[in-house]
């Protein structure tokens, strides 16, 4: 992330110098700071909401039933996570939310999953393989129906907006599989 950040900042300011858009870049940076505050406030609301809901299902024991149902699948992917660990449930809930396109629920549950995975981490300053796998699966965005996109297409009078649904599912599945393969290749190469 360090290199990416340096590149983004350096390229932006040099390019702005080149094209004479320095003022615009300065303004954009302050806009970005403002946007970060707005997104954080929004996240504060939904993250707290979902932490509240997950606490209820933890206290009532429902969480163990949910994780029990999906345990075979999730433990196969996340091998070093003990089957009774809360991370199994938060990963499951995050993936279900992603699958149904519920972004507002997926992000908070994903944050919880990362924190649950961190409790299993021996070196608190480095990512574990399970964390990387979890993030990679999230950035591949396995989603059943892309509602926003279909909505926009139909708003503009598409003949058949849902024609893109099947190709999208195929793409998302193939790219998720490839993403995991790339991760595995890197793991072997970096050993």
């Amino acid at each position: 992330m360090n290199i990416i950040w340096v590149i983004l900042i350096a390229v932006s300011i040099v390019a702005a110098f080149w094209t004479g858009g320095l003022e615009a870049v300065t303004r954009a940076m302050f806009d970005g700071a403002k946007a970060a505050v707005e997104i954080s406030l929004f996240l504060l609301g939904i993250v707290s909401l979902w932490l509240g809901i997950t606490k209820i299902i933890e206290d009532s024991g429902l969480i163990y039933r949910i994780s029990h149902t999906f345990r075979p699948l999730i433990t196969r992917l996340f091998r070093t996570v003990p089957p009774d660990h809360p991370a199994i449930t938060s990963i499951t809930l995050n993936m279900l939310a992603n699958f149904f396109g519920l972004g507002n629920a997926a992000t908070p549950l994903g944050i919880k999953a990362m924190q649950d995975l961190q409790t299993l981490n021996e070196d608190k300053d480095s990512l574990t393989f399970e964390m990387m796998l979890f993030i990679v699966l999230n950035t591949a965005s396995v989603q059943l129906i892309p509602f926003t996109v279909v909505g926009i297409l139909s708003d503009f009078g598409s003949a058949n907006p849902s024609v893109i649904v099947f190709p999208t599912i195929i793409c998302t599945v193939i790219s998720a599989i490839i993403a995991v393969c790339v991760l595995l290749i890197f793991r072997i190469l970096m050993k």
């Binding site: 992330m1 983004l8 390229v11 932006s12 702005a16 094209t19 615009a24 870049v25 303004r27 954009a28 940076m29 970005g32 970060a36 996240l43 707290s48 932490l51 509240g52 606490k55 209820i56 933890e58 206290d59 009532s60 429902l62 629920a105 994903g110 944050i111 990362m114 995975l117 300053d125 480095s126 990512l127 964390m131 990387m132 993030i135 990679v136 999230n138 591949a140 965005s141 989603q143 129906i145 892309p146 509602f147 996109v149 279909v150 503009f156 009078g157 598409s158 003949a159 849902s162 893109i164 190709p167 999208t168 195929i170 793409c171 998302t172 790219s175 490839i178 993403a179 790339v182 991760l183």
Partner: protein, 176 residues
Amino acid sequence: MKTFSFISQLAIPAFILFAVLYGAFKKVRVYDSFVGGARDGIQIIFKIFPYLLAIFVAVKAFQASGAFDLLRQALSGSFAACGIPPEVLSVALIKPLSGSASTAIFIDIVRTTGPDSLASMISAVIIGSAETTFFVLAVYLGAVNIRRTKYLVPVCLIADGVGIIIAIAVVKLMLR
């Protein structure tokens, strides 16, 4: 399609209702549990905020600098040579950086090229099947305050690139 959208709308309220009723049935003090759980939210956001700030400032600056246009001009020739509409490039480049910006560009493509054009179809599949990688990285890494990310970032970037190629290929094969 209607049924799917209905299920999706129903999912969250139904889940919350079930969670609350099940808790009450199991004699849990549901209200106190909720408040207790929600209390942790503010600490998490405190942790994530600096990461979000860093990424938003960099991404916004990058968008405003014109670097994006230079990159697009450099690449659009090779895109056109492969028979890919140049508009797709904008979506492909901006999607990992910003969700709202990519949606805005997508709306613009649909408006200018029509909702059933090849450019609209490919962009739609890219938006539907990709994720705003940098936002996910900032939030999820921020949540655990981890500095050493090993090889995660290159993996995500390679996966994004491959995902875009797959989206173009699948649309060309299936819809044209």
